[in-house]
Amino acid sequence: MNTASFPHKPPAPGTAGEYRFPAFTEDRLDNGLRVLVCQDRRVARVCATLLITTGLTPDEQRLPGLSKFLAEMLKEGTSTRTADEIAEAIDFMGAELETIGSQDMVRASISVLEEYFADGLGLLGELVLDATLPDDELERLRRRELAALANKHSQPGYLGRKACYRALFGEHPYAAIDATEESLTAVSRGDLTEFRGAQFDPARAHLIIVGSVGRNEAVRMAESVFGGWQAPEPTESLTAQAPPSAGRRALIIDFPNAVQSNILIANHAVPFGHPDFIPFKVMNQVLGGSYASRLFMNLREEKGYTYGAYSRPDARVEAGCLVSWAAVGKDVTDGALTEFFHELNRIRDERVGDEELKSVQSFLTGIFPIALERIEQIAAHIVSLKLYGLPRDHWDTYRDRINAATPEQVQQMARQYVRPDEALIVVVGRADELRPLLEPYGPVTVLDKTGAPVT
């Protein structure tokens, strides 16, 4: 074949291969802990995740970042090991250990080579059940986190997200994307032990094990590590509502040396488990889910305003939001805002074309197995079933439900959840230059890097 006969059209696809979300088992220990096992023999590795669903708590509302701080402190000493010995044990196994806290949960995960699985799971149990939360390490962590917070205040992306969530969620615990200087200064060992005592409940916990270990062995080891975990006394939970939309308004975070403007445009949307979530996700894919979506095609490929423009649903347990964003050249901020609003209006006003809809459905369904190659990714999907209270077959039927979305449904999702007339606009950049650009969009408030209003 010579180059002149190069085919002018792409080849027709072959026959699609079968893919099923990996099967997993679920067992319950006597103390209520559920053990979910997904055996995957492809790799000689195992990933174990302990998920404790806390629900919204008054403690987290009072001390933003409390569960995150506790998650960090789990690594800082147990009755048999110091913080340094824990760090040694993790690194010697070549393991990855992650402890995360949010408003909805506390989670600890470890990934290890299979020969270290028993040691790794034992260590995970030790951190969750036997962390001593020593005072000296607590003070060290407090100082470390305070310094890290000061450093984050020099990052425009962080400043934008922080202001956006604070304004969007008001008194709701989701308003804080991080601890604050006040909460870091105030948090005490008593806060941590009380929170742990109330929330670390085996009946609200799941242990998810994915990798080259079988069900029987995994459950037996789970029993030996976590079998003695006792349930705490029940405590009060918090009911909180995200505040109603305050109408369209703009916040400027003054970043005096900015060479770009970081733009975020946000509305309230749906939590992860909401029946609208799947069609909403399809709608978002049309709008800004990837490099093939409208925002990217317009603001980058057409206009060259930015390295990338996207929209993302942040769907949590109790509430959710939709955030569109881009970092744009400061001289094109005005044009970028115009194009953002053009796209936010267009997806509401025009029915999405059949072909465009089919494209995003193909993307979301095709990418699904590709995003499940790693055992950590499989584990994260099983974790999400439990965190968001989804039916057991959620991932089995996921692609069918993506494909079931209709153009009418997509437009309805846009009309319901993309509300440019009520949007919160946040821009990190030079306040003096930004103010006149934002005034046409609604009332403007200027904040400094700490979030305090500038008059």
């Binding site: 696809p13 699609a16 492809r42 080579l113 470390r144 089919k358 095709g366």
Partner: protein, 429 residues
């Protein structure tokens, strides 16, 4: 082989036009990764055109003879796949992960842009603007960004390796669409590339498809090799930069590192893990835990076909960087003078093994590993044996390279000092 329980299954073919094709079947998921690695990176740029290899990478997504602007991205996305590309010092890679029944589409698109890219003035201007924003977002609007670029320039005398791949805004502004066409003609030829296909494939079918789409693309005269010489450093270098975004002082520290796959690279990588990986590492324990002198201390070592660098990045907690610099120096001296224990050597080996096996979990991970060994070393089989070289390192080897490389005269430091905001129209940007 010793370290890997199961070797990566692969075949290596060379097409008539010189394109090296590596096929690696794995049926775990009905997906396949396609990676095309070109032997061109920022080291092949000409003075006055810094950042061009990366700018050109963007042009590869702007349409070819049979796929219009943005169509490459749309076709892959519509097929349920994902894609990206990246530019390094010594290679530019493009990759797709697609459902395996769409392998033909990925190969057709890669072949079309290898044989007939559509370089237009309009697309070039659009991507020039995009790349400038990428640089601003990643470097100029971030604390410690400019210092990160400066350390390379200052540490290396060699221009090819000693300038950053983002390029300066002035050089990006000076680039022309004619430069882009010339760059394409010079570097983007099958004999200057490796194609790797890893995943759910029938190897005979995949090879037939590779031949169908790529074999007729004519080979090119090999491009000139970049200058890889670097004079030995004879004295310490140091510079201070004003950083108008940083809230606290920080610095980058660099030592010259040996060339890729030479005897010193293996112990030096283990030294990097012992010093810098995890909370049990020597620098974390000293700077962050014990002395609370830093809020961040990270380090990397790069082994390239030319002069590389061992770099450490630190953000200091105090008013200046002096305590952190002293602590790092004393830890590096302790490594050189006192060596390491067998336990630490084993720990570093366990880590390197775990990280390598982790990378091999995905089709794309395997495709990338195979492509790199093929492009840089002409030997994809190294993907199955190279780990053994790391596992053979002794404590003495590590002490020897620590003595050799962590010397004052081999050191370069760039400090980023928080500066007050510029006035309007000032220097920032």
């Amino acid at each position: 082989m010793a370290a890997m329980k199961e070797a990566i299954d692969f075949q290596h073919h060379v097409l008539d036009n010189g394109l090296r094709v590596v096929l690696s079947p794995n049926t775990a998921t009905p997906c396949v990764a396609v990676a095309v690695y070109y032997d061109v990176g920022s080291r092949n740029e000409m003075p006055g055109r810094s950042g061009f290899a990366h700018l050109f990478e963007h042009m590869m997504f702007q349409g070819s003879e049979h796929a219009a602007k943005t169509e490459h991205m749309k076709l892959i996305s519509n097929a349920g796949g994902d894609l990206n590309g990246s530019t390094g010092e010594e290679c530019t890679n493009y990759f797709e992960t697609v459902p395996s029944h769409q392998l033909g589409l990925a190969l057709w698109l890669e072949a079309d842009r290898m044989r007939a890219l559509n370089v237009t003035k309009e697309n070039f201007e659009n991507q020039r603007a995009t790349v400038k924003e990428e640089r601003r977002q990643s470097v100029d609007n971030q604390p410690y960004g400019p210092a990160r670029l400066r350390i390379r320039e200052l540490a290396l005398e060699n221009w090819a390796f000693g300038h950053d791949g983002f390029g300066s805004i002035a050089d990006l502004d000076a680039a022309t669409v004619e430069d882009a066409q010339a760059f394409y003609n010079l570097h983007y030829a099958p004999n200057n590339a490796v194609l790797t296909i890893a995943g759910d494939i029938d190897t005979d079918d995949a090879l037939a498809q590779a031949r169908r789409y790529f074999e007729a693309i004519p080979a090119n005269k090999p491009p000139p090799s970049p200058d890889t010489t670097e004079p030995p450093q004879t004295a310490e270098k140091h510079e201070r930069l004003d950083d108008r975004h940083a809230a606290m002082p920080g610095f980058w520290l660099a030592y010259h590192a040996p060339e890729r796959r030479t005897p010193d690279t293996y112990p030096l990588l283990l030294a990097q893990r012992i010093l810098l990986h995890g909370r049990s590492s020597r620098l974390y324990k000293s700077l962050i835990k014990q002395h609370e002198a830093a809020i961040r201390c990270m380090g990397f070592v790069e082994f390239v076909r030319g002069p590389g660098l061992f770099t450490i990045w630190t953000i200091s907690k105090g008013d200046d960087n002096e305590q952190c610099k002293t602590l790092i120096e004393s830890e590096l001296r302790r490594l050189a003078d006192g060596g390491v224990s067998e336990y630490e050597v084993q720990k570093a080996k366990n880590l390197i093994k775990a990280q390598y096996l982790d990378q091999l979990q995905t089709n794309l991970g395997r495709a990338m590993v195979l492509a790199e060994f093929t492009l840089y070393d002409g030997e994809p089989a190294l993907a199955n044996t190279e780990l053994d070289r790391y596992l053979a390192v002794s404590a003495d080897d590590i002490q020897r390279v620590a003595r050799k490389y962590f010397t004052v005269q081999n050191r370069t430091t760039v400090e980023a000092i928080p500066a007050p905001p510029a006035t309007q129209g000032g220097k920032a940007g």
